[in-house]
Every structure is written in structure tokens, then in C-alpha cells.
């Protein structure tokens, strides 16, 4: 299920960088609680006061809700550890080189 969630989140983009949130390394952890029908997504932003923060987290929340109907989605935002460029995946780096 986590793989399916990550695949769904590959459609959510950081509007400035143009890279999806998974390859950008913003998604730290996705936990499923099938008993309670809940998904908890722990994620970060490139900076704590990212002007696009609300749009990105809303995109993650809506996409997970759409991919897993019937589940309640909660977003847990963390800056510990803070995001840095090393979190960008190999595929993300290749995308940026284009």
C-alpha cells in the first residue's frame, strides 16, 4: 500500500522546481492504520516558511484521499531533520539535469 501511495504522490509537484514531492524527498514516512482506516503522512517542505507550503501539503492530502477512498488522511509536517538537497532522488537529479 505504501508503494501505491508513493506512486500516487508522484503526481504532486513542487510548483517552483517542477519535480514531484517523492523524488524531491519531501515525503519522510507513510503509515497505514487499516483498522482505523487512517493514513498518516510525515513530510517536510524545502523551507519552514515555504510560500507554497499550503498548496503542496493540500496536494499531498487530496491525492492520498483520492487514491485511498474511505481513509482519513492526516499530514504530519516535520522539520526534524530539515529537508536538504541530498534528499533529492537519483531520478530527481536526472530530471533536473535536463
Amino acid at each position: 500500500m505504501c508503494t501505491a501511495a508513493l506512486a500516487a504522490l508522484e503526481t504532486v509537484y513542487d510548483p517552483e522546481i517542477g519535480l514531484n514531492v517523492v523524488d524531491l524527498g519531501l515525503i519522510y514516512q507513510i503509515l497505514f492504520d487499516d483498522g482505523a482506516n487512517e493514513i498518516e503522512c510525515t513530510m517536510s517542505l524545502t523551507t519552514q516558511f515555504c510560500p507554497m507550503g499550503e498548496a503542496i501539503t493540500a496536494g499531498v492530502s487530496e491525492t492520498l484521499a483520492g487514491a485511498f477512498p474511505g481513509y482519513n488522511v492526516s499530514i504530519r509536517l516535520t522539520f526534524d531533520p530539515p529537508w536538504n538537497y541530498d534528499r533529492i532522488s537519483e531520478a530527481g537529479r536526472e530530471f533536473l539535469k535536463r
Binding site: 504532486v12 517542477g18 510525515t42 523551507t47 519552514q48 516558511f49 510560500p51 507550503g53 504530519r76 533536473l96
Partner: protein, 435 residues
């Protein structure tokens, strides 16, 4: 793996309602300055102290450069300091006071009437800057992250406050002499506090964060930035001291310190560019990076002017006019032309689409502006800038006129794109289906 600081609340960023009026005001000011430039082209073959040139300079410095920097900084400073803007209300007050004051001040210069309109305008601008300074200071004090970028921005704001206060004092001195010399004597002091203290420190402080961010570059060098910070401030303070010296050769000291500071900043940008992860650089970034190199042109000019003066005790009015033109229509305009379309589309996109994210396909922020209009604007700008600068140096009215018209076309295209972005209406899958 993760700490305990997870939460679901997003840090509050500054509302677009605060920021957008500054952008719109600045773009109209640029158009007004370009119109006045066409009308006053002939004045650019004489001395710099003429009503039209004073009016154009102040539209460019205050209406164009300062308004857009103040607007953008209400959005960017919270990002730099990782804290919230202290007060939206103070930001509105700043906008209204400066927005009303600038036309009065410019009218006073245009009519060469330093009486009531200019004093009222100048007074309102000073109060606006006081409000802006308080807002920024309180925001920085309340923030957790007081970094080098915030230090640059705050020092720049203090220099802006000193510049506008000195400007107001010079206006008063025009009406009731209260200084040892007439106001013209102090103009270069007033101008350089604004150019180096306000514009340069802001551009370096914000640019040092934004340029690596937009290039997706890991490059960071706070030690270098601290050196640049001290060099610029020491250069400015030594300039003020040297200004009152009878030996004008000592002016080389602050100029050389400034050359060192700017060279280090150019090096910083070059390193950020070299270390970038994003290989493709868009036109907006190209013109912003071009502006960094353009800081060096007025520096070379001022060095030549000082050397000419040392050797012959003669100030070339063409070189001084060209120096001012390179700063306001060159460096400052180039960075604004580029950075407007790196920041404005995101502010408008965020206002329009942040609640629609994930609910359907939305355009990208860069789709909000017209690329072809931006491309033609850049082309007209480079042509207009080169021709007008050549016209000043050669004192050729025809070249000045053609250059001014090209810059007017630049301003028209800039305004078209700004209004296209600002007036953008939401486009989603649902609205496309309805059509």
C-alpha cells in the same frame, strides 16, 4: 528517525493582498519613468541637475526600485528569517504613505518647486520608511533564525531610512538653508547611501539566498557573505568621511572597497551557478544573472570619473549621467525585470490555486505569464539600454530618442505581462470542461 516536532499547521506566509499592490505600483512607475525619459531625452546631453532628470531618478529609485523591493520583501523576509511578518497593517500603511508621497515628491522635482508638494511628498515617504523599518525590525526580533540574509536586509533598511531622511533634509535646505552648503553639494552623498546602502545590500542579501534557491544549488558561503557585508558598510562609511575631505583622491578608498565587495558577490553567484543541480536556466534567471555582472559597469565608470577628476579637476557630465543611467536603468531595472517574473507568478498562483492543489490539473506558475512577451521585453530592454547609454556618452539626441522609445516599449511589455499575471483567472479541469 524523526523528531517530535511534527504538526499539521503550516507556517503563515504574508498574504498576497499586502504584496501585489507594491508590484502594480512599481510597474506603473516604470512606465511613467519611461514616458518621461522619451519626453526628456534632450536633457540627457547636459548636466544631471535638471528638473526632468531629478523627477525620473526619483520615480526610478522610489516608485520602481523601492516599491517593488518593499513589496517583495514583505513576502521574502519571512522566508529568510523563518518567521512571520510582524504586521500586515503596517505594510498597508507603508504602501499608502509611500504611494501618495512619491507622486507629490516627483511633481515637486518636475516643476522644480521644492515647496509644499515636494515637502509633503518627501515627508510621507520618510514616514512610510519608518513604518517599513519598524515592521521589519519587529519581524526579525520575533524570529528564531536571525541569519546573514536578515542582517543584510535590516542594514539595508536602516540605510534607506538614513537616505530618505537626508533627502528630506536636503529638501528643507532648499527652502530654508540650514546646512553649510547648498543641497546640490550633498546630492552624491544622498544618492550613494541609497544606491549602495539600500539597493546593493538588499540585492546581495536577498540575491545570495534566491539565486542558489532558483538554480537549485547547494552552494552556501556565509563567511564570504559576512566579508561582503563588512566591505559594503565600511565602504559606505568611509565614503561619508571622505566626502567631507578636501582631497578628492581619497574617494578611491571607498570605491576600491566597493569593487572588492562586488567582485566577491559576482564570485558567489558564479559558484552558485557552477554548483547548480538544475541545468536549464530560464530567461528570468538569465536576465537576473546578467544584472549581477551589470553592477560592475557603473563601478568602472565611477573609477574613470574619479581618475579624470584627479588628473584634470574636471567632472564629465556625460560620465556622471551615464553612471546614474547604468545604475537605475541598468543594474536595478535588469534585476527587477528578471525577478518580477520569478516571484509574481508564484504569489498569484498561490492566491488562485493553493486550495485546488491535488483536486485536478492546474497550470504551473510559469504558465501565468506570456513567455513571448517576456522575450520581446528582454530584447527591447537590451536594445534600449545600449542605445540610450551610447546616446548619453556621444550626446546624440537621435540615439537617445530611439533608445528611450525602446525602453518605453520595454515598460509597456513589462506592464502587459504584470497585469496578465495579476488578473489571472483560475483555470482547472472543471472550468475547461464547462467551456
Amino acid at each position: 528517525m524523526f523528531g517530535n516536532q511534527g504538526n499539521t499547521t503550516i507556517a503563515k506566509t504574508t498574504t498576497h493582498k499586502v504584496v501585489l499592490p507594491f508590484y502594480v505600483y512599481a510597474s506603473i512607475s516604470f512606465l511613467a519613468a519611461a514616458l518621461l525619459l522619451v519626453q526628456s531625452s534632450g536633457n540627457f546631453s547636459g548636466t544631471y541637475f535638471q528638473p526632468n532628470i531629478l523627477a525620473i531618478t526619483h520615480i526610478m529609485a522610489l516608485g520602481w526600485g523601492t516599491m517593488i523591493i518593499m513589496g517583495a520583501s514583505h513576502q521574502l523576509v519571512p522566508v529568510l528569517i523563518e518567521g512571520e511578518l510582524h504586521s500586515n497593517r503596517l505594510a498597508y500603511v507603508t504602501f499608502y504613505l509611500a504611494g501618495i508621497g512619491i507622486p507629490f515628491l516627483v511633481y515637486g522635482f518636475y516643476r522644480f518647486n521644492m515647496g509644499a508638494p515636494a515637502l509633503l511628498g518627501g515627508g510621507l515617504v520618510v514616514v512610510a520608511v519608518v513604518m517599513y523599518t519598524i515592521n521589519l525590525a519587529r519581524s526579525i526580533i520575533n524570529s528564531k533564525n536571525r541569519n546573514i540574509h536578515a542582517l543584510f536586509v535590516f542594514a539595508a533598511t536602516l540605510w534607506l531610512l538614513i537616505t530618505t531622511s537626508v533627502g528630506f533634509l536636503l529638501l528643507c535646505n532648499f527652502n530654508t538653508p540650514c546646512l553649510p552648503h547648498n543641497s546640490v553639494h550633498y546630492l552624491s552623498l544622498h544618492a550613494h547611501m541609497g544606491i549602495a546602502g539600500w539597493f546593493l545590500l538588499t540585492v546581495i542579501g536577498v540575491g545570495a539566498r534566491l539565486i542558489p534557491m532558483f538554480l537549485i544549488s547547494k552552494y552556501e558561503n556565509n563567511t564570504l557573505l559576512k566579508r561582503i557585508f563588512y566591505l559594503v558598510n565600511v565602504a559606505l562609511i568611509s565614503f561619508i568621511i571622505c566626502f567631507f575631505s578636501t582631497n578628492k583622491a581619497v574617494l578611491l578608498i571607498p570605491i576600491l572597497l566597493m569593487v572588492a565587495a562586488i567582485t566577491l558577490f559576482v564570485y558567489y553567484c558564479r559558484q552558485a551557478y557552477a554548483d547548480r543541480m538544475r541545468k536549464a536556466v530560464d530567461e528570468q534567471m538569465k536576465i537576473s544573472l546578467l544584472s549581477v555582472a551589470m553592477i560592475l559597469i557603473p563601478l568602472v565608470l565611477i573609477l574613470v570619473t574619479i581618475f579624470v577628476f584627479i588628473l584634470s579637476s574636471y567632472y564629465s557630465p556625460q560620465l556622471i549621467l551615464a553612471y546614474g543611467f547604468f545604475i537605475f536603468f541598468g543594474w536595478i531595472t535588469a534585476i527587477i525585470l528578471g525577478m518580477t517574473f520569478k516571484t509574481l507568478p508564484f504569489i498569484v498562483w498561490n492566491k488562485t490555486y493553493h486550495q485546488l492543489s491535488g483536486k485536478g490539473k492546474t497550470p504551473n506558475p510559469k504558465d501565468l505569464l506570456s513567455d513571448s512577451t517576456f522575450h520581446w521585453m528582454s530584447l527591447c530592454y537590451i536594445i534600449g539600454f545600449v542605445l540610450f547609454a551610447a546616446g548619453i556618452i556621444m550626446s546624440q539626441l537621435l540615439i537617445l530618442k530611439i533608445g528611450a522609445i525602446a525602453l518605453l516599449v520595454t515598460a509597456v511589455l513589462y506592464n502587459l505581462n504584470v497585469f496578465k499575471v495579476v488578473l489571472h483567472k483560475p483555470v482547472t479541469d472543471a472550468s475547461n470542461r464547462d467551456k
